[in-house]
């Protein structure tokens, strides 16, 4: 692609990624979550792939990130076993990190309140972003 | 210890008894067919002389044959035919009575056929291959009506509320002819006609003897056997005659006089002669061979139709 597309895509890269990150982090408050945020980030990476014909991105990098996201997701769930059961929300109602107790009724939504749910959203977001870009890359390579 | 010796003698007695009884009946069968075709026929002990001659001859193993299957299968076929006799009540109770030995006996009858097929296939000759495939088709055929015929008395015993309905002893002690009304009698007679065809098919005698069809495929499944292997196969053939007919005696002709063993055994021999005469000699001399492409049609069509009609009539 010519230079104009390359520069525009570089400029547009950061707002897209920031917006995707916003969707992931506020998963337990606003609509959307890990999956939707990951798709947004994947679209940013797709923009790069099309603009620069993947001179810079290698695909085995994505499968690595994908496995990291997956193992992070499962290991959070396994940590729950020591507390009580699998997938146990050990962070909620502990007033420590992400554990602010919320009382029943309308509130403006606190960021550090979901317990392990935001962590799960983060893991799913990373995994989906790398998986979709891996798919886009393999389609392009065919 | 004494008990063991007694058991061993009993086993030896049954082995020798069944083999000699089978050979004698084969001799009688040959004489009767000869008489029915107006010729003199061999002496009564001719099968014994054949066996002794075969034991002296060389037992040749074909070039590409698999030695261990080729040699073992005749012996296995003979042992299993003798084994069946332990489960069938001949005089009073069967030696190894169990609560479901009818199904066991029906399945044990597959073994001799299976071992002859494997032996014939392993002898790597075209004729024995074709013969073995025909034997499998024959087995496929007669197994269906055999199953129907065997389960008729079981249904009768079940209907009149006895327990252990699959054990041959209960069927043998409760005379099924008593358990059934008039329509049932007709049903059982039809069943007996089907049984004579099944026995002829099981022993692959004249109308169904496609696997050892002499004129078409030169000895068929047993083309490559000679010497002591062929002797084993002939013996297993003879014992199978006794086994299949004594199974159907236990199922369908259980009348007996409760007195000492010898008289009961003589009555058993009489019944045996009656069945073998009709199902073997009579059908063998009268009919000629069926075509292979019609064989399973006849079995699954006419013979099993006959058997099911008998079964349905018995149901009333």
């Amino acid at each position: 692609m010519n230079r104009v597309v390359k520069i525009i895509s570089l400029i547009m890269l950061s707002p897209i990624i920031i917006f995707g990150g916003y969707i992931i982090c506020h998963g337990h408050l606003t609509p959307g979550g890990g999956f939707q945020g990951g798709v947004v980030i994947a679209s940013a990476i797709a923009l790069l792939i099309i603009a620069f014909e993947d001179k810079i991105i290698k695909n085995h990098l994505f499968s690595l990130i994908e496995t990291i996201g997956l193992t992070f997701f499962i290991s959070i769930a396994f940590v729950g076993i020591f507390k009580n059961t699998f997938f146990y929300n050990f962070l909620s109602n502990t007033n420590y990190i992400l554990g602010k107790t919320i009382y029943f009724g309308a509130n403006s939504g606190y960021l550090n309140s979901g317990g392990i749910i935001p962590l799960m959203n983060l893991a799913v977001g990373v995994e989906v972003a790398s998986a979709l870009s891996f798919i886009i890359l393999s389609i392009k390579n065919k | 210890m004494f008990n063991l010796i007694l058991k061993f003698i009993l086993i030896m007695l049954i082995i020798i008894g069944s083999i000699s009884l089978g050979l004698i009946f084969e001799g009688i069968d040959r004489i009767l067919t000869a008489k029915m075709q107006k010729r003199v026929g061999p002496p009564i002990l001719q099968p014994f002389y054949d066996i002794r001659k075969l034991m002296i001859k060389e037992s040749i193993i074909p070039k590409y044959a698999i030695k261990w299957i080729f040699e073992l299968s005749p012996i296995i076929s003979l042992t299993v035919s003798i084994l069946i006799l332990f489960y069938i009540p001949i005089v009073g109770k069967s030696i190894l009575g169990g609560s479901n030995d009818l199904i066991l006996v029906v399945y044990l009858f597959i073994f001799p056929g299976l071992s002859i097929v494997l032996g014939a296939l392993s002898s790597n000759s075209t004729y024995s291959n074709i013969g073995a495939q025909r034997l499998v088709i024959n087995m496929l055929g007669y197994e269906f009506p055999l199953a129907i015929a065997c389960f008729v008395p079981v249904w009768l015993v079940y209907k009149s509320g006895f327990s252990n309905i699959f054990s041959l002893n209960t069927i043998y002690t409760h005379n099924i002819w008593g358990l059934v009304n008039q329509i049932g009698i007709i049903g059982l007679l039809i069943e007996i006609i089907a049984i004579f065809l099944i026995i002829a098919g099981e022993l692959s005698k004249s109308p169904f003897d496609l696997d050892t069809a002499d004129s078409e495929i030169a000895g068929g499944a047993l083309a490559e056997y000679s010497g002591r292997n062929l002797a084993m196969l002939n013996l297993s053939e003879a014992v199978k005659i006794i086994a299949i007919s004594s199974l159907f005696i236990a199922l369908f002709f259980p009348w007996n006089i409760q007195s000492n063993l010898i008289i009961m055994f003589l009555i058993y021999i009489l019944k045996l002669f009656f069945i073998i005469f009709i199902s073997l000699t009579l059908i063998k001399t009268v009919t000629s061979r069926f075509k292979i492409s019609k064989l399973t049609g006849i079995y699954w069509g006419y013979v099993s139709l006959l058997a099911t009609i008998g079964f349905l009539l018995v149901l009333f």
Binding site: F87 | I66, Y107, L114, F166
Partner: protein, 537 residues
């Protein structure tokens, strides 16, 4: 001890995700890790079975200490896993078979391009199988249905040649419709009763017309997964091209689908007589047509598929006729024969496909379709018995076992089935005897074409570990065949009691009384607080 249920399912999941990371260090390490995790699951499922035998069934709710602690809005949406004697025994048995097939495939499937991807799908399918056994509520049933069908599709397409793509397309198109109907059935139930938990729905169900429609959707989607006669066509496509260890695992997945189908039909919908009668008829048909079609096949792996279908017919014949003969003294024996035949069938068909895998390995036939499943037409493999006596002896033993001839284990379970089915209808026993003689004819045909005759070319030496695995399977078969009574008394009887205990189902497991303060949630108030909460399976 309580967490064993979830560990059995999630440890293979963890190793499946870790594999790409391990592959970077070394191939040996990743294989070692898979083997280690499979052995771990065996041990855990064995202890699970022992603990269930001692102190009854287990209910395990993921994420909260008790199933009733729920969102404030009041209805309990929890992932719930339940294990009774039958499901934990099947889990223990299937993990043993899966780990043995893993060691077998290490040896014979070396030439696969990227093996670690294969083992990810292999472990995911294992998770799908074990998940089916422990499922407690409908949505997890749908999740495990999806996991196992997508991982089987992955295993089919693994070899990436034209034929595999076609079969995967067939497979995926059927299973997307199947899972659609499953979801439809679950949606119907959820919209009516508001609960996804199988126990509550079984308590509140009134079997209205809408429930019957939901039952038929869920039942036929599960029948599609089982692959009995009418729903068998995807199985031919899948087995024709997939590798041997994938065939064995998909056989196990259809066996675990049988358990779920009968659990749902029996527990949740109450004994729906017409459906069970239809099942007995379909299974009798599948015995006949499975064997008749197997006789006419040219492709080895297709023959395995058809024989598997006919053996499934025996199992469902046993269990469904047991349910039909409600509270008569033959019900226990019929179901015992059916469950016993699940074990024998898994062993027999497993050994048959292992031996055929070794045959393909010996004849240096890679798994591209032109060679994929040796078509018996061109007689490419001949006269194996000359140089491989051990392999031919094990094939002869499989002939005896699969067609149910006396000394081996096939006969032990078939004789129990025949005895108890006879009281329902003698025609079923006659069809059973006919089915076993037809299977015998099929296996003789394979034995004649491959093992006997003059050898036409030299073959590779037989793989060592594969033969060891085959002998382990054979020793299982011979042991069960020789000691059927001891085996059934210790293993099968508790499972049959677990399946039959319909009254027991409701009140033999009381919710672990959880007297922490969270208990006084709204759900407690809404549902007649005096009585104990719910009685779960």
């Amino acid at each position: 001890m309580r967490n064993f249920i979830i560990l059995v399912i999630t440890i293979p999941l963890l190793t499946a995700f870790l594999l790409p990371l391990l592959k970077i260090f070394s191939k040996k390490l990743s294989n070692f890790c898979i083997g280690l995790n499979l052995i771990l699951i065996n041990i855990i499922s064995f202890f699970l079975y022992k603990s269930i035998l001692e102190n009854g069934n287990i209910i395990y709710s993921v994420g909260a200490s008790a199933p009733s602690i729920t969102a404030p809005s009041g209805f309990p949406i929890r992932i719930i896993l339940t294990a009774n004697a039958l499901s934990s025994f099947l889990a223990m048995f299937f993990t043993i078979i899966a780990s043995l097939t893993f060691f077998y495939s290490l040896n014979t499937l070396k030439e696969y391009a990227n093996l670690d991807k294969f083992y990810i799908l292999y472990l995911l399918l294992l998770v799908g199988i074990l998940g089916f056994l422990f499922v407690g509520d409908f949505f997890t049933l749908f999740v495990f249905y999806e996991i196992s069908s997508i991982s089987t599709a992955g295993l089919i397409v693994f070899l990436r040649n034209k034929e595999n793509f076609k079969s995967t397309f067939h497979y995926l198109s059927i299973f997307s419709i199947g899972s659609l109907f499953l979801l439809l059935g679950i949606g119907l139930l959820y919209s009516q009763y508001g609960f996804l938990n199988m126990a509550i729905i079984s308590q509140k169900i009134q079997l209205s017309f809408l429930d019957k429609i939901a039952l038929s959707f869920i039942g036929s989607a599960l029948l599609l997964k089982v692959g009995v006669f009418p729903f068998y066509f995807w199985k031919i496509e899948a087995y024709k091209v997939s590798p041997i260890s994938a065939i064995i695992l998909s056989i196990l997945s259809s066996l675990s689908a049988i358990y779920v189908m009968f659990k749902i039909v029996f527990y949740i919908f109450g004994l729906n007589i017409p459906f069970i009668i239809a099942l007995t008829l379909l299974s009798a048909l599948s015995i006949l047509f499975g064997n008749l079609l197997a006789l006419a096949q040219k492709n080895l792996k297709k023959i395995i598929a058809y024989l598997a279908i006919s053996e499934l017919g025996y199992i469902i014949l046993g269990i469904s006729s047991g349910f039909l003969m409600q509270n008569s003294k033959f019900e226990f024996n019929a179901i015992k024969g059916g469950l016993f035949h699940i074990i024998n069938d898994a062993l027999d068909i497993g050994t048959l496909s292992l031996i055929i895998g070794v045959i393909l390995y010996i004849a240096k036939i890679k798994n591209s379709l032109s060679y994929n499943s040796v078509s018996l037409q061109q007689n490419e493999i001949r006269g194996l018995a000359h140089k491989y006596p051990l392999l031919s002896i094990s094939f002869l033993l499989v002939i005896l076992a699969l067609s149910g001839l006396p000394p081996l284990n096939g006969f032990a379970s078939k004789i129990i089935i025949y005895e108890s089915i006879f009281h329902l209808n003698p025609a079923l026993t006659i069809i059973g005897v006919l089915g076993s003689i037809l299977t015998l004819a099929v296996l003789i045909k394979i034995f004649a074409l491959i093992f006997l005759g003059a050898p036409n070319r030299d073959y590779q030496p037989a793989p060592k570990i594969a033969m060891v695995v085959i002998f382990i399977f054979l020793s299982f078969m011979i042991l069960i065949g020789l000691f059927p009574m001891q085996f059934t008394n210790y293993f099968i009887n508790p499972s049959v009691k677990a399946l039959i205990s319909k009254p027991g189902y409701k009140n033999n497991i009381h919710l672990q009384q959880d007297n922490q303060e969270q208990n006084h949630s709204i759900i407690h108030l809404t549902l007649h607080s005096k009585q104990r909460y719910f009685n779960y399976i």
